[in-house]
Symmetry: C2
Subunit: 382 residues, 2 copies
Amino acid sequence: MLSIIGYYTTQFGELWEHSLFDLVEEAASGVLKSTSIEKKQIDAVFFGNMMAGVLENNLLSSAKIAEVLGIHVPIFRTEGACASGGMAFHLATRYIQSGSAKTVMVIGGEKMTDYSPEEVTDALAAASSGEEQEAGMTFPGLYGMMARIYLDKYEYTEEHLAHVASKNHYHGSLNDKAHFKREISPEKILKSPYVASPLKILDCSPISDGACAIVLTSDKNLVKRGKGVEVVSSEMATDVISLKNRKSLDSIEATCIAGQKAFKKAGITRREVGVAEVHDCFTIAELFALEDLGFWKKGTAGGKIKEGEGKYGSTSKLIINTSGGLKAAGHPVGATGIKQIGEVYLQLTGQADRRQVKNLRYGLAHNVGGSGGVAVVTILGS
Amino acid sequence: MLSIIGYYTTQFGELWEHSLFDLVEEAASGVLKSTSIEKKQIDAVFFGNMMAGVLENNLLSSAKIAEVLGIHVPIFRTEGACASGGMAFHLATRYIQSGSAKTVMVIGGEKMTDYSPEEVTDALAAASSGEEQEAGMTFPGLYGMMARIYLDKYEYTEEHLAHVASKNHYHGSLNDKAHFKREISPEKILKSPYVASPLKILDCSPISDGACAIVLTSDKNLVKRGKGVEVVSSEMATDVISLKNRKSLDSIEATCIAGQKAFKKAGITRREVGVAEVHDCFTIAELFALEDLGFWKKGTAGGKIKEGEGKYGSTSKLIINTSGGLKAAGHPVGATGIKQIGEVYLQLTGQADRRQVKNLRYGLAHNVGGSGGVAVVTILGS
C-alpha cells in the first residue's frame, strides 16, 4: 500500500525575493519537518518542472536538488508541461511499487513572475504543436477556440464560465497560500477584458511562483506515525498535441482515458468522491474536466456550476477546487499537479482549515498538460 | 526478468534535413520494425531529451510522441542533462517492475546543429550551477579544470588524453552510424587548438543530431522471438552540481556510487564485463569513468589507455567505447544514454558489425549528466 504522509506548499504568488531553488528548498524542508522524517530516509526524489530551462537556462535540477538536500539518491526531473507535477507523482508511485524505494519525496516547482508576460506566454506555448506556435496561437487562444465550440454546442453563455471563476475565487479566499485571496463576482468577471474571446482575463489562471512537496511511502511504520492517506490509483494518458488532429474539441480525451483507468483501478464510483481538484487553467477547462472525468454528463457542467454545484458550503456532494484551483490559488505550472494532490490530502486528513469539507472518504486530483496532450488522474482515500 | 529485444539508431551527425521529431519517428519506427512488434504492444514510452525546450521552445514531447506514434499510452519525458537518456531507461525498468507495463519503448533524441555553437554552448551550460554560469564557465572549462588536476596529480601529460580520443576515433571508423568515421592520430590531436587547457578541440565530443530507441520487455513470448539481452542492473546516483562543493575533482562520485550499486545488484565482478560504453564527453571523462567504475585503479587509466588497453583488436579484456564513444560517434545529448545501452546490446547479440567483440557475457553502459551531478550505470548480460 502506498500512502502520502505529508505535504507542504509555499505561498503561491509573485515571489520576487525567492529563486526557484529557494522555493524548492522551502517545500522540501517544510515537508520533512511536517512529517518528522530525516533526509536520509528519502530513497529517491521526483521533481516536476516545466520551464526553468526555457526561462532561465536552468536544467539538471537533479543535481541542484542533490545540492539543496545534501543526498546522493536518485533524483529525477520530469516534464509534461502543466502536468509535470502529476507526472512526477505518477512515476514516484511506480518507483516505489517496483521495489526500488520505500519513501520518496515528490516536488513540484515553478518560477514564472521574474519574466515579462510575453516571455512567459511564449514559453508556455512550447507545450503546443510547432504548427500552432508558428500560427501565433497562445494557450488562451487554443482554449478560447474550444470554449467557443462548447458554448455554442450546449447553448451556454460566457456567464456560465464566469461562475467557475467566481466559485474558485471564493475558495481562494479561504486558502491562505493562494495567489488570489479575494472573492470576485460573476458580474465583475464578465466585465473584464477579453484575452481570446470568449475567454476574458478573469477566465484565465495567473502566472505564479510556488513550490510544493509530498512524501509518499510504503513504510507502514512511517504511516502509523502521522496523518496518512492512501493512494488508491494514479493513472495517466496522452493524446495528440495538435487540436486539428483531435477527435473532439469539447472534450479532453486524455482525461477521459486516465479517469476511466483511475476509477477502474480504484474500484469506486464517482459518487464516492467528495472533493476534486481539477485542472482549471481556464474556466472552460474545469467544465471539460468534470464531464470527461464522468462526474457529470457531457454538456451539463456549465449549468450545474452556475446553479452553485461544487461550491464550498453548498449541499453539493462534490466540492470542486477547494484550493481555489489554478484560477485563484495560482498556477506555478510544475507545482500545480503536486498542489492538487496536496490539497486533496489536506482535505482527507482534516487539515484544510476554513475550507474543510466534512465526511470525506475519497478525493481526486486531475492534472492536464498543454491543451490536453497529457492527463494524470490520482485518487486518494482516507 | 527484463530484456532488451531491439535497438535502432538514426545516423548521428549534422542532420539539417530532419527535425527532432523526424528523428524520433525514424528511431521509433526503426525499432518497431526490427522487433516485428506493433505499436499497440507498447504499454508506455520514456523519452530522454535535454534541450529542445531551451533551443527551440519545444516542450510536452509526451503529446508530440503520442501524435507521431498514434497511441494514448503513458509517455514520459525525463531530463537529466546529458544523462537524460540513461535516466529514461532507468525509469522504464522500474515502470515495468512496478507491474504497470510489460513492454516499453525508450527513446532518446536531440537536435543541436541547427543552432550556432555559441547558442548550444550556452544551452549546455544550463546543466551547471547558476554561479558557474554567471562566472562564464562552460563545460569544456569545467572539465578542463578537472583534467588539469588529474594530469598534475598522476603525472600524466596531454598525450595520455590524446590516446583516448584516438582510440575512440578508430572505433568510430568502424561504426557507420557514427558522426565521425575517420581515424585521427594522437599526434594530430595534440596539434589541435586549445578549447580550455589542457583540453583541445579534439579532446571534446561534438555537437550532434540523432535519436535512438530501445524496446524493453518482461514478456517472455516477445523475448523468445528475437534477439534478447537481459538487463542485469540499472542504477543511478546524484551529486552536488557545483564543482566547488565536490569532495574530489579527479573523480565523479555519482559514478562511483551508481557503479557500486550496479555491480552489487548484478552480482558480477568487473572482470566479467567485456565491453563498456562510458561517458567520454571529454577525453578526461573516460579516464575518470574507468577508474570510478572500478575497472582500473585510481590514477592508472591514463597509462593503460596509452598502452593500447581498451582498443578494438587489442588483447584487452575490456574493450571501451566500441561505438566511438561520445567523442567519435557523436553526442546528441538526450540520445547518448540510449545509444550507449544500444551499442552494448548490439555487441552482446553479435550485431556489432566490423567492431564486434567476441566471447562476451556482460557489457556496461555509463551515462553522466553535467559535470557529474548525475550518473546512470546499466549492466546487460547475454
